[in-house]
């Protein structure tokens, strides 16, 4: 048998030459660590499902990436997460959108897949399901970073100049 793990992580920059050396090193280190975490699961004979969840949980905790802690702000200045997961052996799937307090949204998606009869939960209902599942809850402010706040402020300023939020956001990956 062979195992393989592939990951991606948008870090909020559009080109390499806009990165500082320190940013580049930090982002690569975070990805390498997540890659190793998932690889260890596979190397030890664990499932692909456990590997992808483990890798993503690390990236969700890292403020460099637009997920979990470090996620971008909504127009109203809050943070709302989306996540999904799918098992290729059964085509079971779980997804959540617009959650605000679950520390690891990918784990909530997996709980939807494994512990509910549904595939896709949203907003307050998904938050409620998360609590009922006993998943770790945090204040919404825990996810905030200064850089993402700056990006929202910039977007709002540019929107006032006539650019749409969509036009401005693309550079944030």
């Amino acid at each position: 048998g062979r195992w393989t793990l592939v990951i991606h992580g948008g870090a909020g920059v559009i080109e390499r030459d806009r990165l500082t050396a320190q940013q580049d090193a930090d982002i690569r280190a975070a990805l390498s660590h997540a890659l190793e975490t998932g690889s260890a699961v596979l190397r030890d004979g664990g499932s692909s499902l456990d590997a992808v969840e483990a890798a993503i949980r690390e990236l969700e905790d890292d403020p460099h990436f637009n997920a979990g802690r470090g996620a971008v702000f909504t127009y109203d200045g809050a943070i709302e997460h989306d996540a999904s997961i799918m098992d290729g052996s059964t085509r079971a799937a779980g997804a959540i959108t617009g959650t605000s307090h679950t520390r690891h949204p990918v784990t909530l998606a997996r709980r939807v897949m494994e512990n509910s009869p549904h595939v896709f939960l949203r907003g307050l209902g998904a938050d409620q399901f998360s609590v009922e599942q006993g998943l770790e809850q945090v204040e919404n402010s825990w996810f905030e970073t200064e850089e993402r706040r700056r990006q929202l402020d910039e977007m709002l300023a540019r929107e006032a100049e006539g650019l749409s939020a969509y036009d401005v956001d693309l550079k944030y990956g």
Partner: protein, 164 residues
């Protein structure tokens, strides 16, 4: 957005994606990341896919499922050309992951399919990319925008991290 796809020693694939979405999103906007078939999909008969980019375009193309389906159909086509069938394991489950490369489905086929679907998405005006893992161990990327970090590790090729 972050994502991961994997195949384990049993040949089972899985995919997951997690994101905060779009800066300044309003009106309950939802992108492709939580949409099964658009930003995330996994099927042992084809592959596992996780996407990142302009979500509205990934939803319209159904990028993740489209890549998976094209791989599945191409494999089936190769089997028919060889007048062969996929052997079943002891539980009666087709052993796709063992026999795909045997019938000529190579890494170049997977790359061609992924690039084709990303190209179609781009032709509508979208940008972004995907990561792909197949049941027989192929891992690949296809991106059309810079600034995308990615990493890959496997039992055969070690680990590496890069930026597109």
């Amino acid at each position: 957005t972050v994502g991961a796809v994997a195949v384990d020693l049993e040949g089972n694939v899985a995919a997951a994606t997690s994101t905060g979405g779009l800066t300044g999103k309003r009106w309950g906007r939802i992108g492709d990341s939580p949409v099964i078939g658009a930003g995330t999909y996994a099927d042992n008969r084809g592959c596992a896919v996780s996407a990142t980019g302009a979500g509205e375009y990934f939803i319209r193309v159904g990028v993740a499922h489209e890549i998976c389906a094209q791989i599945r159909f191409r494999f089936q086509q190769r089997l028919e050309e060889a007048q062969a069938s996929v052997p079943l394991d002891s539980e009666g489950i087709p052993e796709y992951y063992v026999h795909a490369s045997e019938f000529g489905l190579e890494a170049s086929d997977i790359q061609e399919i992924a690039d084709g679907v990303i190209g179609e998405m781009e032709s509508l005006g979208g940008s972004g990319g995907v990561i792909v893992a197949t049941p027989w161990g192929t891992g690949t990327y296809s991106f059309n925008t810079p600034g995308m970090y990615r990493g890959m590790a496997s039992s055969e090729a070690g680990a590496n991290v890069a930026i597109y």
